[in-house]
């Protein structure tokens, strides 16, 4: 097979005889063939740029994807500059709230933002430094709390590094994503304006899908622990298994081991998340 990596070949050598037989059986499967009518119709659609649109209610055969800009302008008569202004205005109206700093650990003197030291005694400077997409790192023993009004409250506790996500838009761009790493705890509480949005977090080789909840992800070495206070978090662990973790529950897993441990949420996190929930409700 082309593109084989040395590690892949070495990995195959570690497979058992039974696994190798199964692998051979899988690789010998014939290519699935499509229904000829379907293939023919789709080819026509692709060449003509003529795909049916569920949103517009147009039926198959109606031209909904213009083939070039000139034809689009002639058909709809919208000046390009006006169309651009409408798109820009929509983008501005759709923007989610900005991130605000609402809490800083007493002993913490600085935060790293995109690798630059930002002092914590000047909240205005810290506020100005934080923006969607920046990488925020809280030093060991430090704590930082930031909020996107009514949407997300984040508490970075300990040596946590995360890519600050954009906040969910009002109508579109409701799905946001970020990465978390380090050796600390990230606590998250969603607000009423988060409803209908989804927040995907990547941490410790796992993926966490959030849709309205209060939870904490703690990372110690190669071990990750998720505790959920309310709502539900769907996590895909490094072994590929999917777990739905509900209110009051916990899942712990190691990045390098196959085992996943589930149980009641940690008492310490119950207290910390309860306080976070109260603050989120006050901030609105």
């Amino acid at each position: 097979m082309s593109g084989r990596h040395d590690d892949d070949i070495q990995g195959d050598e570690q497979l058992t005889a039974e696994q190798l037989r199964v692998q051979a059986a899988v690789r010998s499967l014939r290519v699935p063939e499509a229904d000829p009518d379907f293939r023919s119709r789709l080819r026509e659609q692709f060449v003509r740029g003529d795909f049916p649109s569920e949103e517009s209610g147009l039926a198959a055969g109606d031209r909904v994807v213009p083939l070039d800009r000139a034809r689009r302008l002639r058909r709809y008569g919208i000046p390009l500059s006006l169309a651009a202004a409408l798109v820009l205005m929509f983008g501005l109206l759709d923007q989610g709230p900005d991130w605000d700093v609402v809490g800083v650990g007493e002993e913490m003197q600085h935060v790293l933002v995109d690798g630059e030291l930002v002092p914590c005694d000047e909240l205005g400077l810290l506020q100005a430094a934080l923006h969607p997409g920046c990488t925020v790192r809280v030093p060991e023993g430090g704590r930082l709390e930031i909020v996107a009004s009514g949407t997300l409250l984040l508490e970075l506790d300990g040596s946590v590094e995360m890519d600050l996500p954009s906040t969910p838009g009002r109508w579109v761009g409701r799905d946001v994503e970020s990465r978390v790493s380090g050796q600390g705890t990230l606590r998250v509480a969603t607000g009423p304006r988060f409803d209908g949005a989804r927040y995907r977090l990547h941490s410790g080789g796992a993926t966490f899908d959030v849709a309205g909840t209060t939870f904490a992800i703690e990372q110690r070495g190669t071990e990750t622990c998720l505790c959920v206070l309310d709502g539900e978090v769907e996590v895909t662990t490094p072994d590929g298994e999917r777990h739905e973790v509900g209110a009051g529950r916990r899942v712990t897993f190691d990045e390098n081991e196959a085992s996943v441990d589930t149980g009641a949420m940690l008492p310490t996190e119950f207290e910390a998340l309860s306080r976070l929930r109260e603050r989120a409700d006050r901030l609105g």
Binding site: G3, R21, F46, D239
Partner: protein, 188 residues
């Protein structure tokens, strides 16, 4: 995997030349459909997803890099479309509802006019059993088996696609093979 077209041909595709688009489709449709069909298990869902893939490709065709093989780009789009469908509420309800598709192999044995030429012409018992076993895998495990053994991607490439690590993907692949072996034990 088919060899990529030349630069001049890809430039024509970018310019949406009808004939070049047709040749592009003919070259890559089997690859896209085959991948989607393996990932989604069901023919109807595979057709919907394949249509969505080519819609996305058509909309983004002006961004096609004529100096690079389009196959990895197409693979990524196809994988993302399938992944989004797994995670949609409608997809979950569809999978949970009792239907003919939930009975491995049954839909392939019924003559409803939509059985594939593959099933009709080939339908070796061994192949049917292997396909059924793959379909029974949890989605994340089926992903790595399809992408590694059918698509030919390395563990590193799969890890990048799934935002995971090489070690995690290797482990997931090993577990998938073990699950397949257990399912097929005594049957092959």
């Amino acid at each position: 995997m088919v060899s990529p077209p030349g630069r001049d041909e890809l430039e024509r595709v970018r310019r949406r030349d009808d004939a070049a688009l047709g040749r592009f489709f003919d070259r890559y449709f089997p690859h896209v459909y085959g991948l989607v069909r393996r990932l989604l298990k069901d023919e109807t869902r595979a057709e919907d997803a394949t249509q969505e893939v080519f819609l996305k490709v058509h909309r983004a065709i002006e961004r096609l890099d004529p100096d690079r093989d389009p196959a990895p780009w197409l693979t990524t789009i196809a994988y993302n479309v399938c992944r989004d469908r797994w995670r949609s509420a409608a997809e979950k309800m569809d999978r949970q509802s009792s239907s003919i598709d939930d009975q491995p192999g049954l839909s392939n044995r019924l003559d409803d006019g939509r059985t594939t030429p593959e099933d009709d012409a080939l339908a070796g018992e061994r192949e049917r059993l292997v396909r059924e076993a793959i379909d029974e895998l949890p989605d994340p495990q089926r992903e790595v088996v399809v992408l590694h053994d059918y698509e030919g991607l390395t563990h590193d490439e799969i890890a990048r696609m799934m935002d995971s690590s090489h070690a995690a993907i290797r482990k997931r692949y090993s577990r998938a093979l073990s699950a397949l072996a257990e399912h097929l034990r005594g049957k092959l």
